[in-house]
Symmetry: C2
Subunit: 209 residues, 2 copies
């Protein structure tokens, strides 16, 4: 098992559950819309029309589109708070904060739900598009924006950070591959943090075009 | 889709298929044995007894235990050849060779089968143990051994390399997360290669105990 034990929940939101039947209808239509149109393509207005409710009711029950999506994938985290934790602080230690915060999230009470979500999404290719679009578009992009890279370098930096963080969390928390699952957290935060710092703010190697 | 297109197969073996019914019986018992006992625990002798064949017949049809396992997970690669490609050459460029060879394997004709295997294994937790044991024990360990680290540093170096390579291949070839799936291969080989080199042979950060 992962070192470090469970940590406090990261930005769990406390919305009212609402009328169970209406809530279920909204979730069903939202799942369908995200599967059909992807994260960006799905609109709350459209989901509301198909569930035959007022869009304001979706906001009331679930909050933003992002929060609705996270409810569907059963991941009780608040990305805005996670990103704030990473971005707030000196830019030259953002790599370590990114790795430490990601590990906090996976070791929090949201962890088991995230493991289940990753397993489900990986098993079903039709679910992949929505989650990858969400992770890439809503999370990594905001972290990259915080370090203000040269615009032409953004895709490579995003790709590198994604590869490093994805491997860390999938290997340690989903697959639990030894010794990745068992080495001390501090070793990983230090080494992977330094790598992510390089990927975010260090010079990129010159490669021929 | 991934950049770079399909490459030549990496060490495909050309064994005879053998009698179809006997072959199927061996594969069925082997699947069962790997699932029950893990990669290390399963023995060819035991599989042969359960399939009611001579162990020599398993060797004749499938080769070594490793080759039998790779047939079951439907991954047509030859790990010994892959590891030789990585280990042969100057130690100070082993990081780049590791990343380049891994990308060759995933971009070879074995790629689609490997994607399917990763999806299946991730979806079914009971399959995870065998594959993780195989990847960690048979592949990463041999690459780590090639750089002769201080023994007490081996687990951390193995964990770091696993995290980096796993994220690269799962993100680029299985999830196809943009922009990781679309940036140029050369950019990834250069930057991730430098990271893997550091993880294998560079100094590790001091962390408090």
């Amino acid at each position: 098992m992962a070192a470090g034990g469970r940590r406090r929940p990261v930005g769990r939101t406390g919305r009212r559950p609402g009328n169970p039947a209406t809530r279920e209808r909204i979730l069903t239509e939202a799942r369908r819309a995200f599967a059909e149109s992807g994260y960006t393509g799905a609109s709350l207005r459209h989901i509301a029309a198909r569930a035959e409710v007022d869009p304001a009711l979706i906001h009331h029950y679930f909050g933003t589109k992002e929060q609705l999506f996270l409810t569907i994938v059963q991941v009780p985290i608040n990305p805005a708070e996670v990103i704030a934790r990473i971005a707030d602080g000196p830019i030259d230690s953002i790599g370590t904060r990114l790795v430490g915060t990601m590990m906090d999230v996976w070791e929090s009470e949201a962890g088991p739900a995230m493991v289940a979500t990753v397993r489900r999404v990986l098993a079903d290719p039709s679910d992949t598009r929505t989650l990858q679009e969400f992770v890439a578009g809503q999370i990594i992009r905001r972290v990259i924006a915080a370090v203000r890279p040269r615009p032409e370098e953004s895709p490579v930096r995003a790709a590198l950070v994604t590869a490093q963080i994805l491997g860390l969390v999938v290997g340690r928390y989903v697959l639990e591959i030894a010794p990745l699952a068992t080495v001390r957290r501090a070793e990983l935060v230090a080494s992977v943090g330094a790598t992510v710092q390089r990927y975010l703010t260090g010079p990129l190697p010159e490669v021929g075009s």
